[in-house]
Symmetry: C2
Subunit: 197 residues, 2 copies
């Protein structure tokens, strides 16, 4: 498939599925550029993830997703709705199940026409504060635009809260702080994209 064919297909998929409100303007700007198109994205989020065993994210299940800052009350409510469901789970049986609060910065995958255009996109991403940006795939020159704000905090094990409500309040305030900082970089990215023709 040519670059143009892949771009057409990606734009059709984007039109069908839509994108997060915080990021849609950036995707449109990138997709208007001749040498680029977006293949996937997330505007940054805070999630509660149920993980069978620490790190086995393949089998993980979302309990809640927020593409915005949250309150500790919202998080506690979502956790509460899970209680009781883990009655059969026992740490001793080896059937460990945990709930983690994870904050993820915005991420955008951009397919670039060639290495030169990938370099150009990477330059703009770095200049906008996305310090973990990189070339993800050499096959199709896919640039991953990514910043550093990330938190991975375990909260519950086997339906049992591991920490106090006060600690959750603190963790949520930090997650909100990081999410807001990361989302501000999206504005800088939008401005800096105007330097690409």
């Amino acid at each position: 498939m040519t670059f143009e064919e892949r771009k057409k297909r990606a734009l059709k998929r984007l039109a069908e599925r839509g994108a997060d409100a915080d990021i849609v303007e950036i995707l449109e700007r990138i997709n208007r550029l001749e040498n680029f198109f977006t293949t996937s994205s997330c505007s940054g989020r805070i999630v509660l993830l149920k993980i069978p065993h620490a790190g086995s994210k393949r089998e993980a299940e979302f309990i809640a997703k927020w593409h915005r800052p949250v309150s500790a009350a919202e998080v506690l409510l979502a956790l509460k709705s899970m209680q009781g469901r883990n009655a059969g789970c026992s740490a001793a049986s080896g059937e460990r199940e945990e709930i983690w609060l994870i904050e993820q910065p915005p991420i955008i995958h951009v397919a670039c026409r060639d290495l030169r255009s990938a370099e150009e996109m990477l330059k703009v991403a770095y200049a906008s504060g996305f310090k973990y940006s990189n070339l993800k795939s050499l096959k199709h020159f896919v640039v991953e635009i990514l910043s550093t704000e990330r938190m991975d905090v375990p909260l519950c094990e086997c339906g049992r809260m591991l920490c106090t409500a006060e600690y959750i309040e603190f963790v949520v305030s930090r997650a909100n702080f990081l999410l807001n900082r990361a989302k501000r970089k999206l504005k800088r990215l939008l401005e800096n994209l105007s330097y690409i023709e």
Copy 2:
């Protein structure tokens, strides 16, 4: 500078500074290959980091670093040694200071002769379980070998413990689990590197 000149300089620096025991054999294997050399590395670690304000890692200060699994007692001892030093710090004054426990997987930066050799190194990295591997720099074709095991957990604010000793015990056990899993991938990487000539 040519690739050979840069390699010579990097090997000299490596000989001077040395590398973590867990990773030294891998670095030697890579550096014996004609089209590659390592520029920096870490074998994976658990650290306690003092951060002025969540995420401002530029001004962060290491309290402790372990390139191996740790015990909760070691972590608590390191935290205790910090107490009292933050007497003047007040959350209300805006002068927030936090201590985070961070687990980081192994990371190796490999300079490659050209795009084709970068592709080859990336393939070996993915096949060995390093799913976050990527091409970091297009200028010198630097591949970053990186896996996904990471934890970032705040523990203290302004000298005040945010969580219980029991929670720290749980966090440490998870950090150890992730660190061990990541370090096992180093063995696979060492084996798979033999496929590169």
